[in-house]
C-alpha cells in the first residue's frame, strides 16, 4: 500500500510539473482583459503539486513494513489482470479488425478461458452480441462503430 501511495503521489507530482512548464509557456499571468490562457493551468498545477507533495510526505512518514495492508489482496493482482489485459487486447484488436470482430474474439476468449463457461453459451453470447449491436447501432440508429484497418473487408455484410 505504501509503495502504491508513494508512486501515485509521485505520478501526480510529475503531471503537475509538466502542466506547470506548459502553463508558463502559454502565459500564466493576468492580461489586459483577464487571465491569459495559461493562468488557470498554472495555478491548478501549483495546487496539484502542493497537494501531491503533501500526500507524498505523509505516505513516506507513515509506518510501512509487514503490518501494512498490501495494495493487492492475496491473488488480487492476477484477478485484476485477467480483466484488464483482455480488455486492453480487445481494444488493440479493435484498431485492426474493427469493433464487431474484436468483440466476437474477446467475448469467446474471455467467457471460455476466464469465465470457464461451456462452449454453447460462449458461442451464443460471442456471436449474438456483435450481431445485435450491429443492427442496433449500425443499421437502426446509424452510428458507425470503428471498423479498424481491415474490419471493412472482413465483415460478410
Amino acid at each position: 500500500m505504501k509503495r502504491a501511495e508513494v508512486l501515485v503521489a509521485l505520478g501526480l507530482l510529475v503531471v503537475a510539473l509538466v502542466v506547470l512548464s506548459q502553463a508558463i509557456h502559454l502565459g500564466p499571468g493576468w492580461g489586459e482583459d483577464g487571465p491569459r490562457a495559461g493562468f488557470f493551468p498554472f495555478w491548478l498545477a501549483v495546487v496539484l503539486g502542493v497537494s501531491s507533495l503533501w500526500v507524498l510526505v505523509q505516505a513516506l512518514r507513515a509506518p510501512g513494513g509487514a503490518g501494512a495492508r498490501p495494495f493487492f489482496p492475496v491473488g488480487g493482482r492476477r484477478l485484476v489482470l485477467t480483466v484488464f489485459l483482455p480488455m486492453a487486447g480487445a481494444i488493440a484488436l479493435l484498431e485492426v479488425v474493427g469493433f464487431y470482430i474484436a468483440s466476437l474474439i474477446y467475448l469467446v476468449i474471455y467467457i471460455r478461458l476466464t469465465g470457464r463457461q461451456g462452449w454453447p453459451l460462449t458461442l451464443a453470447v460471442g456471436v449474438l452480441f456483435p450481431l445485435i449491436t450491429f443492427f442496433i447501432f449500425e443499421r437502426w440508429f446509424l452510428i458507425l462503430l470503428p471498423k479498424g484497418l481491415f474490419g471493412e473487408r472482413l465483415l460478410p455484410f
Partner: protein, 328 residues
C-alpha cells in the same frame, strides 16, 4: 391532419426501422459507367450536434432518404473539437475513400491557418458548394444606434462590446475585418459556444452587437433586435431595403461556405456522383424553401468551380487573419 400524412409518416418510420437493414448491397464490381456508393456513406460534420453545419448535413441526408436519391443511407457523423481540426485530420486519413464526405464551414479554411496544422484546403477534394450563409450586423432594438454610420462613429470613440461564436472564427474575423476597414477601436470581443447563445446575449443586452447568421436571430426581429446591414455582396430579396456594407461605403463582404469536400485523392467518378447528387438535393423545393427562410444565398458550384472559389477564399481569410495579428 390528413390521414394521408399519417400513412406517409408511419410508412417512413417503418421503412427506416425495418428496411435500412436490408439496403446495403455489395456490388463492388469493376467501375461501370455510373459509379454508385455500395455501403453507407459517412457524412462527416466539422462541428457538434445542433450547430449550423450539423443542421445542413442532417437536412441533406434526410432529403436524400426522403426522396430516395441514393441507394445507401448518408450517415451524419459529428467530429467536433479543435475547431474542426479533428474532423479534417480524420478525413485526411481516408485518402482515396469514395464513401466519406465532409460538410464544411469557415473553420475549414481558418483552423489550419490559426493552428498551423500540417494540412489545409488543398488536401481535400472539392465536391460542391450548396449555399452561402449570410451575416447581418445586429444591435438591440433599444440601442440608440440605428444605422451603420452611427455604429461606426460610436465604435471609433470607444471599444464596443460585441459577441460571437468561438474564438478566432468567422464572427471574430468579421468584426476584425470591420475594424481594419473602418478604422475602429478594437472591439471587446466576447466568445460564446454557439450562435443561439450569442443571440441570447444580444437580446439580453449582455453585448452591444453581434454578426449572427439570420437564422439565429431573426426570431427576435423586429421586436427585440435591429438589423443594421448585411455583409452579403447583394441585397436579399427577403429584405429589399437592407443595405449591404459595401453600399454603405465599407468594403466588407463576407459569406460563409456551406460546401462539401471529399478526402484527398477521391476517385473522380465518386466525386462526380456526389456533385450530381447534391445538385439534385439543391434543386428540391424543400431545400430551396429552407434556404429562403433562413436567408441563405442559393448558389451551387460544381467541383472545378468550387475548387477555384475556395482557393480565393483561403487567400482572403489568410490576409485578414495575418492583418489581425492572430498568427505571426
Amino acid at each position: 391532419m390528413g390521414r394521408n400524412s399519417v400513412r406517409v409518416s408511419m410508412g417512413l418510420l417503418a421503412t427506416v426501422f425495418l428496411s435500412v437493414g436490408l439496403v446495403a448491397v455489395t456490388t463492388d464490381g469493376p467501375a461501370r459507367a455510373a459509379w454508385q456508393p455500395s455501403k453507407p456513406v459517412e457524412f462527416i460534420i466539422m462541428a457538434g450536434q445542433g450547430g449550423g453545419a450539423d443542421q445542413y448535413a442532417r437536412l441533406i441526408s434526410g432529403l436524400v432518404e426522403k426522396h430516395k436519391l441514393a441507394p445507401v443511407p448518408f450517415v451524419p457523423v459529428n467530429k467536433d473539437g479543435g475547431a474542426g481540426a479533428v474532423a479534417m485530420q480524420y478525413v485526411k486519413g481516408k485518402e482515396g475513400d469514395p464513401h466519406t464526405i465532409m460538410i464544411t464551414l469557415s473553420s475549414f479554411l481558418m483552423t489550419p491557418i490559426n493552428q498551423k496544422l500540417p494540412f489545409n484546403y488543398k488536401d481535400y477534394t472539392p465536391i460542391s458548394l450548396v449555399a452561402l450563409d449570410n451575416f447581418f450586423l445586429w444591435v438591440h432594438k433599444e440601442n440608440p444606434i440605428t444605422n451603420v454610420r452611427e455604429f461606426v462613429a460610436e465604435a471609433r470613440k470607444r471599444p464596443m462590446t460585441v459577441g460571437g461564436t468561438g474564438s478566432k472564427q468567422e464572427d471574430e474575423l468579421i468584426f476584425s475585418f470591420f475594424e481594419q476597414k473602418a478604422g475602429l477601436k478594437p472591439f471587446k470581443y466576447v466568445p460564446f459556444k454557439g450562435g443561439g447563445t450569442v443571440a441570447a446575449n444580444l437580446v439580453g443586452k449582455q453585448v452591444e452587437s453581434t454578426v449572427n447568421n439570420p437564422s439565429e436571430a431573426l426570431g427576435f426581429h423586429p421586436d427585440k433586435v435591429r438589423i443594421l446591414a448585411t455583409f452579403a455582396e447583394k441585397r436579399h430579396k427577403q429584405f429589399p431595403d437592407l443595405q449591404t456594407m459595401r453600399e454603405l461605403g465599407y468594403d466588407i463582404t463576407y459569406q460563409m461556405l456551406r460546401g462539401v469536400f471529399g478526402p484527398p485523392k477521391m476517385p473522380v467518378e465518386a466525386r462526380d456522383y456526389y456533385a450530381g447528387l447534391l445538385r439534385k438535393v439543391f434543386d428540391l423545393n424543400d431545400f430551396q424553401d429552407f434556404l429562403e427562410k433562413n436567408v441563405l444565398d442559393p448558389s451551387f458550384m460544381g467541383p472545378e468551380e468550387f475548387g477555384r472559389w475556395v482557393a480565393g477564399q483561403h487567400d482572403l481569410h489568410e490576409q485578414i487573419i495575418k492583418k489581425a495579428g492572430w498568427v505571426k
